[in-house]
Symmetry: none
């Protein structure tokens, strides 16, 4: 995951966010879960800086979209309580998607700034550009 | 709980994880709840490092399997909220098992890297070797 | 401090880092000390992600360059101990510079990835583009 | 950095620790700074579990031995205060060494359990086996 890769992913996500009219925080992490790049679009929530970065971390940490993890981590679900792990870095709602190359997860994108469906749509647009 | 004990437990757990084809993080803690050894099998989730260690801690902290604790700590359950204690170290889903010697808990194993039933099966295989 | 501002500052810093041959983490925060954008150049230290972001925070938090704050916060200095405040976000070595508009601090840049003089030079190049 | 690599490094470090008669905590992290394996030798300090893991993280985070980082991060040094970054994970005393393959840092070893020279000697023995 190069910085150029991350920027291409972020640019596609930003374009989608602009289209739907919702400013977002967008982050990309590498294979080790470490931040490669982050942007906060003008007017996006400051509380979402941390969430976007951590959605990306979460998607890489478990090689799963945070939308799917959300289902497994509800009360009664088999991963309920996982949000308490990893020092508050696990986000269990939509907007984080693993990025694969040749079938292997090599990073992830995390998006936060709107409702779940918006975050997810923007993350998907970013992931599609990888 | 010696390092040799921990390694024997981990080896048995690793063997089981290999059999079911799911790479795992496996950790063993001692009577004090402190880590004796941890291994991350190739390809296992990086988000599960913390979880495996903390499942082992949790199982020793309350002398209970995390699978059983999970039932007690759901919304409405009498331990609901326990996951907030101990600075984020309490894991309330399957994969942590106390290790007993002469009826006394002297440590625990914690496994994370798959679905709940997989984590539990691997932890049981490890515990059986103690 | 718009995202466009932050990107212009980061681009100038990146150019300088490339010139001196040292990959860097570069971050820009706004008037509230909140992250606007971060990039990790290929090969830059992963431990410097946190440091770059926090140098920027520190420079805005006290409206001072972290190079100057470094002098005041040595043992015996009048701000010695300040690094313990703000939950570990205060960095007391060179590489963070406030960004001013019409004499007012409206954000800051933070750079980390090399020796102090390198971080400072790259931060200055970024600040000059604001 | 495979688990087999980490075990080979740990075995060499353990052998050295046994020779000098000082039980140690020994940890290996991968390229992303994430733990691959940890062992606590019988009788080693429990306070050193965290330190060994974090020395390894630090050595990878900045691609430098913690012995060298120690010199740069003393009062008056250009990295003084770095120990406050990265949420308490930066250790600035001897015992952490980057592990290189073809000139590139792909992980690190961290050792803690004795005096600085002992930790360093054991870490060097481990690194030599990589």
């Amino acid at each position: 995951m190069t910085l150029a890769d991350a920027r291409r992913v972020i640019a596609a996500a930003e374009k989608k966010a602009t289209e739907i009219g919702q400013p977002m925080n967008i982050a990309v992490v590498d294979e080790g879960g470490n931040l490669v790049s982050h942007v906060r679009m003008d007017g996006a929530w400051i509380g979402s800086i941390n969430i976007a970065i951590n959605k990306a971390f979460t998607a890489r940490a478990f090689d799963i979209s945070t939308k799917d993890l959300a289902k497994l981590s509800q009360p009664g679900g088999e991963f309920f309580g996982i949000h308490e792990s990893n020092h508050g870095r696990i986000m269990v709602f939509a907007g984080g998607i693993p990025l694969r190359r040749n079938g292997k997860v090599v990073g992830a994108i995390g998006v936060s700034g709107g409702m779940g469906a918006q975050d997810q749509a923007v993350a998907e647009a970013g992931a599609a550009a990888f």
